[in-house]
């Protein structure tokens, strides 16, 4: 069966209509099936429906995603309580260790993201992976930094990523590769984006899974949970009425 590829992180402002349209057209041309743009948690349903309608015109499935940047774990849990049921994917950008640990153990978090440039703030170590493997969180890697950076900065980033990926594989934490692009010239075809995974220790099958199977599984799981027919994992309402 043909793989469905997903880019869950187009790093653009959803209100910037022109850039959004350009990137969506390009994503459709390159063969992606799912795309997502991060919203802040005050996004209106009207805005998201407009973007979804535009994407469906190009046979792209638009995924509603929120990026959270909390400063404390209380702020994180408060935000999650408020928005979990409004978004299909929740990503937490971990700026400190306290938030990283709380995000890794909270089952409402889908993606853990760490700053690419500040390697002191990459908190994905063995403890983080152990917490993440017991919840549902996946590690998100944005490849755009690998295209933009050069020299020592890229070497340092690759070194951090290689270490983190080895830990993720050891603890069976899923990894999601996203582009993180805000400019169309850095956008790559899905298999090219996956091939950048070779640089930090993926084999071919795992690199392709990180750009297709893993993100698609997150989207499907959350859509099922958000559906009105969902009761509990594995249980859903199939028929309603008096003659059941």
């Amino acid at each position: 069966m043909k793989r469905a590829f997903a880019d869950l992180h187009l790093h653009i402002n959803p209100k910037d209509q022109q850039t959004f349209e350009r990137l969506i057209k390009r994503a459709a041309k390159f063969g992606y099936s799912y795309v997502s743009v991060p919203f802040n948690y005050e996004a209106t349903q009207e805005e998201s429906e407009k973007l979804r309608a535009f994407c469906s015109g190009f046979r792209l499935d638009f995924v509603l995603r929120a990026d959270l940047r909390p400063r404390t774990e209380n702020e994180l849990t408060h935000c999650l309580r408020k928005i979990r049921r409004k978004f299909e994917v929740i990503c937490v950008v971990c700026d400190n260790k306290e938030v990283a640990r709380q995000a890794a153990k909270d089952r409402r978090v889908d993606l853990l993201s760490f700053p690419s440039l500040d390697y002191h703030k990459r908190f994905f170590d063995r403890s983080e992976a152990e917490l993440a493997c017991n919840s549902l969180a996946a590690l998100e890697v944005d490849v755009t930094s690998l295209l933009v950076l050069e020299g020592p900065a890229r070497i340092r980033l690759l070194s951090s990523l290689r270490r983190e990926i080895a830990i993720a594989l050891e603890f069976h934490v899923p990894v999601v590769v996203s582009s993180g692009v805000g400019d169309e010239r850095f956008m790559r075809m899905p298999r090219d984006m996956a091939s950048l995974g070779f640089l930090f220790g993926f084999d071919e099958a795992y690199a392709l899974d990180a750009a297709s199977t893993n993100p698609v599984a997150i989207v499907k799981r959350n859509r099922e949970k958000l559906s009105s027919r969902f009761v509990a994992p594995g249980i859903s309402v199939v028929k309603e009425g008096t003659d059941c």
Binding site: F30, E150, R185, D192, S195, L196, F198
Partner: protein
């Protein structure tokens, strides 16, 4: 002596204007060398087979053992001859004939 297996890659070049063969291969060699160093680059046996100026489609050859290195390096190219550029892999094959059928 064991025969070296090769792979041919068809690439779509996205850039303003068309670079010369030398400029394009310099960009590819530069990307491979930046990521894998000169020793790594020397193992790739990279060679340019054809550059279609009209369609901006390039065919290059590499060894099968280093195909992953080359694909990752091609994805990391963002300029050719000083101009912004992107390189996308359209297809990979063991023979030029089969590669051209894919296009």
């Amino acid at each position: 002596m064991k025969r070296v297996k090769r792979r041919y890659l068809a690439l779509q070049l996205e850039t303003e204007g068309v670079p010369t063969e030398k400029e394009f291969m310099d960009a590819v060699w530069g990307a491979v060398a930046r990521l894998y160093g000169e020793v790594g680059a020397s193992m790739t046996s990279l060679a340019l087979i054809n550059l279609d100026v009209e369609r901006k489609v390039v065919v290059i050859r590499t060894s099968l053992a280093t195909l992953d290195y080359v694909r990752a390096s091609l994805a990391s190219i963002n300029s050719v001859a000083g101009k912004e550029a992107g390189v996308h892999v359209l297809g990979v094959s063991g023979t030029i004939k089969a590669l051209l059928k894919q296009l």
